[in-house]
């Protein structure tokens, strides 16, 4: 097996994860000033939360969920529900630096209604709510330990990727994934719970691959952060192309996500492979995976080059992804 090598990591951006938070802060200020909540105290609360976010605070994924619940309620003229969501959102403010928490889908960590809401946030056409199952009591500690091991690997052997990860991710939710029509899932991210990662612990993974899966999911959220107020591609959603990561054809938006995420997976693996502290067997595993990710990246990049209608922001971000992954295999 050839190993893929090349320039891979640059310093993590200090403002990673801030774009979407600042946009949220702006939005909260606008909602407060509009008076649509018809409650001065609540409007003051939103203004205060927005100010905290502008000054470096973060919002727990449950807080993002409250935000969107508030918007829906406003849209449906359900003022009381909107007020309740606004009040709840303010309780989910986080400091600027947080260690991601591991919160298994288990009744120790989720009330029944919280679990139901969480499932709804992650469910989609390709991931049904009933595919997201609780962790058995006997496995809670084991899964927590595996995820802690993966996070330690990330911190110790891939510090650049770790810095990006911790600027994005505040919560990891291990679940048991159930297959549907012969398909299962590795993980999932959602704007509705920005900062959270759903991960299927049913799959057997090495520590390296588990860490890579966490990087993968966090980088979907990173792309939402980078594209918080502008499109990256302009192709119609019904144009479908071959994906480098999924067996089903995907719209260009999906290919774009895949390529972006693959560039960060590659960078993570390259960090591990090049770190002198990495054990030899893990280095070999990283090199093997790098080669595979590089090929997948190049496949997806080729689709984008041929078909994507990129905005200027989309082109810039794609260029940065290309710079992370060498074009040719050495």
């Amino acid at each position: 097996m050839k190993s893929a090598r090349g320039p891979v990591h640059s310093s993590p951006q200090i403002d990673v994860g801030r774009g979407i938070v600042l946009r949220l802060a702006e939005s909260l200020g606008h909602i407060a000033q509009s008076g649509v909540l018809k409650n001065n105290d609540l409007q003051d609360t939103l203004t205060s939360l927005g100010g905290s976010l502008e000054n470096g605070a973060r919002l727990h994924p449950e807080g993002f969920a409250c935000y969107f619940a508030m918007l829906r309620a406003l849209n449906d003229n359900q003022l009381s529900a909107a007020q309740t969501a606004a009040q709840a959102m303010a309780t989910y403010e986080l400091p600027g630096k947080v260690v991601p928490t591991i919160r298994p889908l288990h009744d120790t960590f989720f009330l029944p209604e919280q679990a139901q809401q969480m499932r709804a946030h992650f469910a989609s056409d390709s991931l049904l709510s009933r595919q997201i199952n609780p962790v058995p009591t006997a496995s809670v500690e084991l899964f927590q330990d595996r995820l802690k091991e993966a996070l330690e690997l990330l911190a110790n052997l891939a510090p650049y990727s770790h810095a990006t990860f911790t600027n994005i991710t505040t919560e990891i939710i291990p679940v048991i994934g159930q297959s549907h029509n012969g398909m299962t899932f590795d993980g999932c991210s959602s704007v509705e719970r920005w900062g959270a990662i759903l991960i299927n612990m049913q799959l057997d993974r090495t520590a390296l691959v588990l860490a890579e899966t966490l990087v993968h999911e966090s980088c979907h959220s990173l792309l939402f952060d980078l594209a918080n107020d502008s499109y990256l591609t302009l192709n119609p959603a019904d144009e479908l192309y071959q994906s480098p990561l999924r067996i089903d054809p995907r719209p260009i938006d999906g290919i774009y996500h895949a390529v972006f995420v693959l560039s960060h997976m590659y960078r993570f693996l390259a960090e591990v492979a090049q770190n002198p502290e990495t054990p030899n067997d893990m280095r070999q595993e990283a090199n093997t995976l790098m080669f595979t990710r590089q090929q997948a990246f190049n496949d997806g990049y080729g689709v984008l080059s041929d078909h994507a209608q990129l905005t200027p922001a989309g082109q810039e971000i794609l260029n940065s992804a290309r710079a992370r992954v060498p074009e040719s295999v050495s």
């Binding site: 979407i20 939005s27 406003l74 299962t184 590795d186 993980g187 502008s230 999924r246």
Partner: protein
């Protein structure tokens, strides 16, 4: 757009571009709550198959 369109500028809400176009799915206007706001990314693969970690299901975005 919103019932509160006279009071809220959607261009200042998360999930919309600066012109007020919904970026991440039918955020406000959709009647299907499950797809509302759900710029979801779900990794899908055949059960048991060896595929790269994770994958994507971002919205195809409703523009304009």
């Amino acid at each position: 757009m919103m019932s509160n369109e006279k009071k809220l500028d959607t261009g200042k809400l998360l999930g919309f571009d600066r012109d007020g176009n919904c970026m991440w799915g039918e955020i406000i206007e959709g009647d299907d709550k499950s797809s509302a706001i759900s710029a979801l990314t779900g990794a899908v693969k055949p059960a048991g198959a060896v595929k790269p970690a994770g994958a994507v299901k971002p919205v195809g975005g409703v523009k304009g």
